[in-house]
């Protein structure tokens, strides 16, 4: 009965109800941000051709942020779907296609995190996941928006801008936000407790 640390640790392997609920709630809050972001995007679009892609990375923020907070397999995908669910539920004009996009984007981000065995939570990996999500959206765009029929320079411009903004917004910025949240102590109870803390009990 004395080594009380282990059962809790084993319980935390899979996704618990807390993990899922936190993921969903974080994504829904970001889903609200997405709503606001739609107007930011239209304003950004006035700068130059395809300039709205400069802020596109925000649409992938849910998956990276949720992963950086919870650090478990599956959350990136759930987060994307939850954010899309919110947008659809609020009567978005884009409809069910958002669900398709979210699945592709979430899966792509998930792949990157899996490639690093869900251990690496650096800004670079988050950025890569963002870029992967952008690639996922490209896949959807090809089917949905015939983007291969664009003039070649437009394709290159559009998707390189998107990749950069994904790296910066979904990766780097979300990494910063996650760090701030960590500092505020919210993530403490989402993660397994350090062995050290258990040892301190005997002090």
């Amino acid at each position: 009965m004395s080594a009380k640390g282990s059962p809790a640790a084993s319980r935390r392997k899979g996704l618990t109800l807390t993990d899922v609920l936190v993921t969903v709630v974080v994504s829904l809050v970001l889903g609200v941000v997405y709503h606001v972001w739609a107007s930011v995007s239209s304003i950004a679009g006035l700068l130059f051709i395809q300039s709205d892609e400069l802020v596109y990375g925000m649409w992938f923020a849910a998956s990276t942020l949720a992963f950086l907070l919870i650090r478990k397999p599956g959350v990136a995908l759930i987060a994307e779907i939850a954010a899309a669910h919110l947008e659809i539920a609020f009567g978005s004009a884009y409809g069910i296609q958002l669900l398709l996009y979210s699945v592709l984007q979430g899966l792509a981000a998930e792949l990157i995190f899996a490639a690093f065995r869900y251990r690496n939570t650096s800004a670079v990996v988050a950025g890569l996941a963002g870029v992967a999500a952008a690639a996922g959206s490209l896949l959807a765009d090809i089917y949905y928006g015939y983007v291969t029929e664009y003039a070649t320079w437009v394709i290159v411009l559009k998707y390189s801008l998107r990749a950069i903004s994904s790296f910066v917004i979904a990766g780097w910025l979300m990494y910063g936000l996650a760090k701030l949240l960590e500092r505020a102590g919210v993530t403490q109870s989402l993660r397994p407790v350090d062995r050290k803390e258990y040892d301190a009990l005997d002090g």
């Binding site: 996704l15 969903v24 539920a89 009567g91 936000l177």
Partner: protein
């Protein structure tokens, strides 16, 4: 008080099983994605717009308000293609912009399709409650209750998060942080709003999850369901009407073509 997302009257679509309805609508989505002729997409957009107005059970003004968003969807789907798409029969070109016949019609086609997608999505949303959908998914497609209840709980938590935004603004005003203006204020926005909002939502989610587990929620165990989710004649009805709409669009495109163009992916 009546909330915005509450229908005036219940139509057959409200009564059909949300899980099956979701399957039907995903089918519609796939069908629409596979539509590559502009005549077909045009008629799809028209027919679903009609369905949206008559089968959603909402007053016209609300539906119109929601449908106004389609203009933006139409633009965002078509403009880039119209201005920068590939094509051989150039109508007009200026700098990087070149509008060709092919790209123009391809853009219109994308626009029509996006309206069809939008109508389908909205029709689904307006006729389905979240609670109903997740209960149906749990019972019909064995979605784990862990996910279903997380989504349902988060719907309760979200308004609180929005309320929180207002409260925060008030708190800052009361505590006298309203002094700074302009750029420095804008830069502080994430620190002052986004961070606490997220932190608070996460905490609240944790507390709610703990409360749910104390109420002996266990995703692995057998459970019963307060709301039954039966399959009824309305499901057959919904399926048939959607099928009819799709077939009608195809027939109209065949017999009453407007644009008379071929597959939009090749050069039409």
């Amino acid at each position: 008080m009546k909330r915005f997302f509450e229908p005036d009257r219940k139509t057959w679509l409200h009564r059909s099983n949300p899980a099956l309805k979701l399957a039907v609508f995903v089918g519609l989505f796939v069908w629409t994605v596979l539509t590559h002729r502009i005549d077909a997409s045009f008629y799809l957009a028209c027919l679903f717009l009609l369905l949206l107005f008559f089968a959603s059970g909402y007053p016209l003004w609300k539906t119109a308000l929601l449908a106004s968003g389609f203009a933006l969807a139409f633009a965002s789907a078509s403009v880039t293609m119209i201005l920068f798409g590939k094509g051989s029969e150039i109508w007009w070109s200026w700098g990087p912009v070149s509008i060709s016949k092919e790209s123009f019609y391809r853009g219109l086609h994308l626009g029509f399709r996006s309206i069809a997608f939008g109508c389908q999505g909205l029709l689904f949303v307006l006729t389905t409650t979240s609670t109903g959908l997740f209960y149906a998914l749990m019972q019909r497609v064995r979605l784990s209750p862990k996910y279903a209840y997380s989504f349902m709980a988060s719907i309760r938590l979200l308004p609180m998060a929005l309320e929180e935004l207002r409260i925060r603004r008030d708190a800052l005003a009361v505590r006298g942080a309203g002094g700074k203006k302009g750029a420095s204020r804008l830069l502080q926005m994430p620190e002052l709003y986004a961070l606490p909002l997220l932190a608070q939502s996460i905490r609240r989610a944790q507390r709610t999850a703990a409360a749910m587990e104390v109420k002996r929620f266990d995703a692995g165990r057998r459970r019963t369901y307060y709301y039954d989710s039966p399959v009824t004649k309305y499901d057959a009805g919904a399926f048939l009407v959607m099928l009819a709409a799709v077939l009608a669009a195809a027939l109209l495109a065949q017999n009453l073509p407007i644009f008379e163009l071929g597959d939009m992916r090749m050069n039409p």
